[in-house]
Symmetry: C2
Subunit: 473 residues, 2 copies
């Protein structure tokens, strides 16, 4: 149901508000859109340029019962930033200033619309970098990463985005502005609002400033590619490397199907067998660490294990880097359904991938699997013919079975892309009804009128309604 | 005001309930008691032996409006576990089982009453350890560490306790049992209840089971002690080592006053000048790292820098290890007031210590400073004559000035001991009124009757009342 958003022109200059179809359509999709995860078109788009703008829009919208869905680069995969109930799309990309760099404290203050790669660039002149940057870091914003608690290839060594956020400025649904966290690297002062807000997908507040922690750039960086005869060899090799404590900065798995697609897409002269991609960071002893890794890979029958220095490793990594495009381009009649991720305890990595492959055979579906294997994090999709509703339904079924198995294994339905609306139905299965009710209680306490990003994270209630304050029931 | 707790005998066997004076008095103090941080005596003490016991007691107490204050080893410094409003002290120390060790996943499941050192012992046979253990790890419980978001000497390399907790089972005020977090090492599924509950000091729920992450034991461990001519040299050396990216596992500072007390207490033949204590962990290249550190210390005029291997480093570290006892034993007429901690951004470490020393001169007070300097974490106390009320009042004033300056510097009023009641008055100064109100909103949502550990974390409201639901006002 559309909302009257004409009040926005009294709050913001004309250049910061649009009711035009083109702008509204631009904010009705994210990367999941091509996988048929579409939402509704917002009634208006606003581009705040300051914390005050964000606060004023939220206060007014909240007063009027108009939903506000924060939006940035639109690279999410679970519909996280796409409106479900019209209202206002709040586009944060104009708040893209780097506010301060404090190299002595390994800290940088940024606005939410800053691209991840811009943080790395700003840090580089002081010999620093932002370790948890996701693979999409050059096209996604810090605000979006914080909202979805993103992580990346280097999470296996350095942790998630959440681990590198020290302090946040956040505007709540009623327009009030709070601070969460501290510029001290450790604190036990009061409730940890910072980590509660990180990953809350814009349902509790809008981040308007973040203090991030940086790390000194390692003196030695080496990258490599290992090719294995079978998928079991590759997954067992990754598990064994992690269990043995090999100090990898990245350890990525590409299964045989994905390898075939990448080889085809890039016209590479490589066997269509599973690969792992590794990167090592160290100040001393990187050769010893690489040899340690090699000895483990050899115990798992590795066919080839090539290493390169930082300048020339790009070529070795090409098949991994282009994978998302390769799977999408392989066959126009076989497109990925719901390309998300699950994470399991590392010992279960071989099992979850084996299970996905068995389902592929049982249902006669192509299921490329790849991802940040060192964390037990598997990205997979099921390829279907979108013109065939039965094929799509089967694909959804297979996709869901892998999620459910991951949860059974003690894992999570979403490792790094948030819940959005794509994974809402798994929230209770993963956490239990009482845990989800505790999350709802927080939502009601922070946003009693359900102004912020309604329809996300939480499964629909029995009456099909949004997450409402109990008093509104 | 005492509460009728006779209902407890209907819930628990006799051996798990006590109304005796001795048991009640045992639960009316923590380590801060000797610093005059005393609370009130509970009406009853219970020792639950299962999640069901915890749930049954909480549900019944919540129904009857009887406060419940969780208690474990009693090693906290801010009165965190000491009742403010009588009621029930819930002693978790009998829930002390190690439930499962999964070395392949680097995971261990424990009950809350397990001692920190027991986790390390259980992990050792698989070559693993629990890195964030506080110095008090052999006399404090995992549940207490989680409740206060504790950290330790190795936090500078490995992070806080919170960073090593994967999943929690928690009983809420109404007796419902929730799960928070995941056994997957990364997740972006739903709100981060786990990190909200960690550090909430038993005001939101009672932890009844924790899955902790473990780390592989490094192959090389070396420890050392550096002696500096002046305090500025020592603090600048620590700052420079951290800024330069020296990979230390521990880097502790002991100021000249503390050094003098430790030398006196242990009858050591060392100069009464500032020291730093370091430890290095590596699989390769530990000598190179030590030499890197040495070059930085030498640039700050270090007088002595001795290193030892793991077996013999105990002797080098003796002055640091016995420091808490040394400061307490130095002069029976000069006892520490409020021995807590603050943390500042690392670049401010020299400034905050210099400020404390200036105050010492201005007020003619002895102020020993030491702590986990690599994190910018300073432990300090002001020595006073407890028989002289004016001296005590002045000591409190000086103590508070350092806290306030730390907050001004972007730091925190409590780095690793929580707020309890000792730091309540600084919560709004540090976080702002709206942030504290957001914390209160969570408290009201989780515990509307203020059953769990009332009177902690939050400053008293204007009417002197506890944190109550708005509807109760």
């Amino acid at each position: 149901m559309p909302h009257d958003c004409s009040f926005l022109t009294e709050i913001l200059p004309d250049a910061q508000v649009s009711f035009g179809d083109s702008d509204r359509d631009d904010h009705a999709a994210d990367w999941a859109a091509e996988q048929k995860q579409t939402g509704v078109t917002p009634d208006a788009v606003v581009w705040p340029e300051s914390t005050d703008d964000v606060s004023a829009v939220l206060a007014a919208a909240n007063d009027r019962g108009v939903p506000v869905t924060p939006y940035a680069a639109g690279t999410s995969l679970e519909g996280n930033a796409v409106p479900e109930y019209e209202g206002i799309s709040m586009d944060l990309t104009r708040m893209d200033e780097i506010l301060d760099v404090r190299p002595d404290d390994f800290q940088i203050d940024v606005q939410p619309g800053v691209m991840g790669s811009a943080v790395d660039e700003a840090a580089a002149s002081d010999g620093l970098f932002f370790p948890p940057l996701p693979s999409s870091g050059d096209i996604s914003t810090i605000g979006g990463m914080i909202a979805n608690d993103a992580s990346g290839m280097q999470t296996v060594k350095y942790g998630e985005v959440a681990d590198w956020v020290l302090e946040l400025e956040v505007v709540l649904a009623d327009g009030s502005v709070i601070s969460a966290g501290s510029k001290a690297v450790k604190t036990s002062s009061g409730y940890n609002l910072k980590n509660l807000l990180i990953g809350s997908e814009g349902t509790l507040g809008v981040v308007t400033r973040a203090t991030l922690e940086l790390e000194g750039r390692p003196e030695q960086i080496r990258g490599g590619r290992a090719i294995f005869p079978t998928l079991d060899d590759a997954t067992e090799a990754v598990f064994d490397a992690v269990r043995s404590g090999v100090d990898v900065a990245k350890i990525e798995l590409v299964d045989d199907v994905s390898a075939m697609m990448a080889n085809d897409y890039l016209d590479l002269d490589l066997p269509d067998t599973p690969m792992t991609f590794v990167e090592f960071h160290a100040n001393h002893g990187i050769e010893e660490e690489i040899e340690f890794c090699r000895s483990i890979f050899e115990a798992h029958d590795v066919d080839q294990f090539e290493m390169a220095d930082e300048e020339s490793m790009d070529e070795l990594w090409q098949a991994r880097r282009e994978l998302a495009f390769a799977t999408r381009s392989w066959d126009p009649k076989q497109l990925p359904i719901h390309a998300g991720d699950v994470t399991v305890p590392i010992s279960k990595l071989p099992d979850i991938i084996r299970y996905a492959k068995e389902l592929g055979e049982e249902y006669d579906k192509t299921i490329p699997c790849f991802g940040h294997a060192g964390d037990g994090n598997v990205h997979y999709s099921v390829l279907v013919d979108y013109s065939d509703p039965e094929d799509v339904a089967e694909g959804e079924e297979v996709y869901g079975k892998v999620v459910e198995r991951a949860i059974e294994m003690g894992g999570t339905c979403t490792g790094e892309h948030g819940v959005g609306r794509g994974k809402r139905q798994y929230l209770e299965l993963e956490h239990g009804a009482d845990s989800v009710e505790a999350m709802r209680a927080i939502k009601r306490a922070f946003d009693p009128k359900d102004t912020l990003n309604p329809g996300k994270v939480f499964p629909e209630t029995a009456d099909g309604e949004r997450v409402r304050a109990k008093s509104d029931d």
